[in-house]
Amino acid sequence: MVKFSEAQLAEVKRLVARYPEGKQKSALLPVLHLAQDSFGGWLSSETMDYVAELLQITPIEVYEVATFYSMYNTKPVGKYMFEVCQTGPCMLRGSDDIIAYIEKTLGIKPGETTADGLFTLKTVECLGACGYAPMMQLGKHYREHLTKEKVDAIIDECRKTAGVLN
């Protein structure tokens, strides 16, 4: 069952307190981020219903938001998601080659996850790192000035971290 811990519930309370009385729906985006981080990296309908209940709004108000914003995953994703920018400025600096290299190395296309559930490749639109292109977002941080060697190193790093965690 989907349920926040006491600490997470306190965080929800802190978020809701930032808005005027009765405007707790304003906390929806931050609470969805918290839910996605806490419940396996994606938003199941169970998770979305839980968030709706917490914020005392209708489930449809959560669904319509979750499906609008690109950072919310409405399907399961791999443990590590490579979100590679493909917009103009990154393209000028070779992002197409980086995407092709990741496809080849991991054997997946954009939108797919490796069979071991470790990696998902996602192409994204401009992340505001145009001067440090090509780049990808991995979790909370950006990996910039990507080369094939750097991609290899990132994949190794993820595999090692996953090994340590298991």
């Binding site: 930032r18 808005y19 005027p20 405007k23 729906k25 304003s26 906390a27 929806l28 985006l29 931050p30 969805l32 981020h33 914020l55 709004i57 108000e61 319509e64 938001v65 609008f68 914003y69 690109s70 950072m71 919310y72 493909q86 917009t87 103009g88 400025p89 393209m91 000028l92 600096r93 994204v124 639109e125 401009c126 992340l127 505001g128 790192a129 145009c130 001067g131 440090y132 292109a133 977002q137 909370k140 941080h141």
Partner: protein, 452 residues
């Protein structure tokens, strides 16, 4: 070296923390504003400074502030637009990452001027680590009496909250941002009512860009009149430019708007020239939405005059032969780049980011991407070029928000200035898969008609 008002201290070690920032003269504008000035006089200084919105539209900031409604008993809000998402633009990120206290300082002064006791920073969701940097800065400011209750004993209360978006370019449009801040999809609102009358939670609201609010700090410190002396004409003060693409030194630069485009690209102080010894083919000088210009029209206006990095000069010639300052996202294309492919990439971006509310934008962006895809991959027809022109004309001006225009302009400018490259793609479908059209005549000097 040009004047630096925002980034002068960006490289001082520890400037991200309160202690060093304060030691370097930080938060003086808060002391001056809250103790020696009143809200009206602050708005007056910002008006005098000539500061124009740095997010892209360039609307005078002081005038925007003066529109805020002040109904009795209704709270007002300042919202900082940190949803920086315009391709080519990464200046606000730099400012928030390295000088978070400069933004917080500007926010406190601006909140006082507008009467906002709860101020929000709406930051794009992907800048997740910057949320921590900003919250640390807010906590430090609070611990030192610059935020919270009764700031510096003046009776002014102010809290700043950081709100994370979740991936949507459209939320940089101020009414979409407000919808998003209310926990909804980022669908822009029909105006009027303008946010200054009914914004977030139907309360009077001012939405300003990060750089605009940071610029309030030097304006208060030096006075609006002094600030207005920097720059030229209606381009006062300094502007952050994020330079990217095929240049030697991509990065964020602060310019005082008297520098020529040519110097900006080729001098070592800024872009350091085109990478790998290539030649300049084209440039999108103000973020992906503004018209792309071929090298010749970028460096000189149609009248043959030097083009400068400021609002007026970049737009000299209108859309026929000029472009715009926009957000300051300066994207440089070298001779090996393909205009069709670049336009396709941007068209895909706008199709992806259209909120879907207005049919001209929702449908038009999709069709433009499909047609450009066909041309790029050797399946285009000559009539497709006219069709693209027709579609962009039908989007522009026919949508609730400017995303429609932003999607139409890059396609229009690409066809206007590079039509022969599109035609070459259509007429040489196989060759176009192997090689690019190259520099062609795009850097040749422009013929300037001489009038007797």
């Amino acid at each position: 070296m040009s004047v630096k008002l925002l980034l002068a201290k960006a490289h001082i070690e520890g400037i991200r923390g309160f202690e060093v920032y304060r030691r370097e003269g930080g938060y003086q504008s808060v002391e001056k504003a809250l103790k020696q000035m009143n809200p009206e006089s602050i708005v007056e200084e910002v008006k005098k400074s000539g500061l124009r919105g740095r997010g892209g539209a360039g609307f005078p900031a002081g005038m925007k502030w003066s529109f805020i409604a002040k109904p009795e008993g209704v709270p007002r809000h300042l919202v900082c637009n940190a949803d920086e998402s315009e391709p080519g633009t990464f200046k606000d990120r730099y400012l928030m990452e390295f000088l978070p206290h400069l933004l917080i300082e500007g926010l406190i002064v601006s909140s006082f001027a507008l009467g906002s006791n709860d101020t929000y920073i709406y930051i794009r969701g992907e800048y997740a680590w910057i949320v921590d940097i900003l919250e640390d800065a807010i906590n430090e400011a609070k611990a030192n009496g610059f935020l919270g209750k009764n700031i510096l004993g003046t009776g002014f209360d102010c809290e700043i909250h950081v709100q994370r978006g979740a991936g949507a370019y459209i939320c940089g449009e101020e009414t979409a941002l407000i919808e998003s801040l209310e926990g909804k999809r980022g669908n822009p609102r029909i105006k009027p009512p303008f946010p200054a009358i009914q914004g977030v939670w139907q309360r009077p609201t001012v939405v300003n860009n990060v750089e605009t609010l940071a610029a309030v700090v030097p304006i208060i410190n030096m006075g609006g009149e002094e600030y207005a002396k920097i720059g030229v004409g209606k381009s006062t003060g300094t502007k952050l430019i994020s330079a990217c693409g095929n240049i030697n030194k991509p990065g964020v630069y602060e310019i005082d708007m008297t520098i020529s485009v040519e110097d900006f690209i080729y001098s070592d102080e800024y872009c350091g020239g085109i990478a790998n010894g290539k030649k300049l083919k084209a440039c999108i000088p103000g973020g992906s939405s503004v018209p792309i210009l071929p090298a010749n029209l970028l460096l000189k206006t149609a009248k043959g005059e030097t083009r400068y990095m400021n609002y007026e000069s970049l737009s000299d010639g209108g859309f026929a032969s000029g472009s715009m300052m926009g957000s300051g996202g300066f994207i440089v294309l070298d001779e090996d780049q393909c205009i069709v492919r670049n336009t396709l990439s941007l068209a895909r971006f706008y199709r992806h980011e259209s909120c879907g509310q207005c049919s001209p934008c929702r449908e038009g962006t999709g069709w433009m991407e499909k047609i450009l895809h066909n041309i790029e991959y050797g399946k285009g027809k000559i009539s497709d070029i006219d069709l693209l022109w027709d579609i962009q004309r039908k989007i522009e001006g026919n949508t609730i928000c400017p995303l429609g225009d932003a999607a139409a302009w890059p396609v229009a400018a690409a066809i206007r200035h590079f039509r022969d490259e599109f035609e070459w793609h259509v007429n040489n479908p196989l060759e176009a898969q192997e090689k690019n059209y190259g520099l062609a005549h795009y850097a040749d000097p422009i013929h300037v008609p001489v009038t007797a």
